[in-house]
């Protein structure tokens, strides 16, 4: 939710190291970060804070997972990948490595996915064609290396009639 960043953030982990001078905290082992509807799960999480505000979080895992509710009337947006960069100030999420993002029934997979929460845009890139073994995305779809895949749900008829009514 828009006010997630104003909530208390809690991080539970097996180990942690905090460098008070640089403001960087590294959390390792079953790491779970929660802040409002934001939730990140990873095996390693690096938090970069500036003036006691979260600037960026880098989650790594097999896979690392992210979920957040963008608006009160919308379902959770979920993402997973080998690495997730969460830019708190820019309100942007970058998912890399077998990246997968689900939002309102739509599914995006590829090597790199970038989700801009403010503009509500998702950009995807296939990344380098895998030279050795074929890299397929997890889940039901097959993505050959270097390709992206999007599954966009058709708008339901009730949405269309509403729109038509508004247009008259």
């Amino acid at each position: 939710l828009p006010d997630d960043w104003q909530q208390e953030m809690t991080i539970v982990s097996d180990r942690a190291e905090i460098d008070r001078k640089t403001g960087i905290g590294v959390y390792e082992g079953n790491v779970i970060l929660t802040q409002g509807t934001l939730k990140i799960e990873a095996s390693r999480l690096t938090l970069i804070r500036n003036d006691d505000k979260l600037e960026k979080a880098v989650a790594e895992g097999q896979p690392a997972r992210y979920q957040q509710q963008m608006a009160a009337d919308k379902p959770l947006t979920r993402a997973q990948g080998k690495r997730i960069d969460y830019f708190a100030t820019q309100r942007e999420v970058r998912v890399k490595g077998s990246a997968r993002l689900e939002q309102e029934g739509n599914l995006f997979t590829g090597d790199l996915l970038t989700y801009d929460m403010t503009a509500e845009t998702i950009s995807a890139s296939g990344g380098q064609a895998a030279t050795s073994s074929a890299e397929t995305s997890s889940g039901d779809g097959e993505t050959s290396p270097g390709r992206i895949r999007m599954v966009i749900q058709p708008q339901s008829s009730s949405d269309n009639s509403e729109k038509a009514g508004e247009a008259q």
Partner: protein
């Protein structure tokens, strides 16, 4: 014949008596050495010591309300120890506890009871744990006990910690829960 038996019995009784006396004296001796080991050779009130770095600047000061030195154990006990150390940025940190202990010619200061680490100038942070070992040479503090860190924005609970006072790096060993309050 009867005289011989009588003599034998007397010798037996005498021998048993000797053994009993010997055992009694053995039990006494350790008790006596124990109390002499605990004997202190000096008592100090209001201890204050300064340690300077190679550049001549004041690195650390150590104070204690009372100090007692036990020569046989080569150990000194402190009441109300207060250690003040300056980190790389020139910021001063204070480590306090109810009791402290150090072996002669050693750098490891064992602090026991309500151990606290805090900056001297402000209340930016306070670290609390029941017991801590502070190496006055490397200026690294370690504990395997539960630790709580409280600051205006952050609250951390963990078990086991290593803190490098100079570099201001803190490592938590297990069961870490961190709360950031915006």
């Amino acid at each position: 014949m009867r005289k011989r038996y009588l003599l034998l019995i007397v010798t037996l009784v005498f021998g048993l008596a000797l053994m009993a006396v010997d055992r009694y004296t053995q039990e006494l001796v350790p008790f006596q050495t124990d109390s002499s080991v605990r004997e202190a050779d000096y008592y100090g009130e209001g201890l204050f010591s300064r340690q300077y770095g190679a550049s001549g600047s004041l690195d650390q000061t150590f104070m204690a309300a009372r100090s007692i030195h036990y020569p046989q154990e080569q150990r000194t006990e402190f009441s109300g120890p207060i250690l003040t150390s300056t980190d790389d940025d020139g910021k001063q940190w204070q480590v306090t506890a109810l009791q402290g202990e150090i072996q002669d010619n050693d750098h490891l200061l064992y602090l026991i009871g309500d151990v606290e680490i805090r900056p001297v100038s402000d209340n930016a942070m306070i670290i609390q744990t029941p017991a801590l070992v502070y190496n006055s040479d490397t200026r690294i503090a370690e504990t395997s006990d539960p630790v709580t860190i409280t600051s205006p924005q952050i609250r951390v609970n963990a078990t086991g910690m290593t803190m490098d006072l100079d570099r201001q790096r803190i490592e938590f060993r297990s069961e870490v829960t961190t709360h950031y309050v915006p």
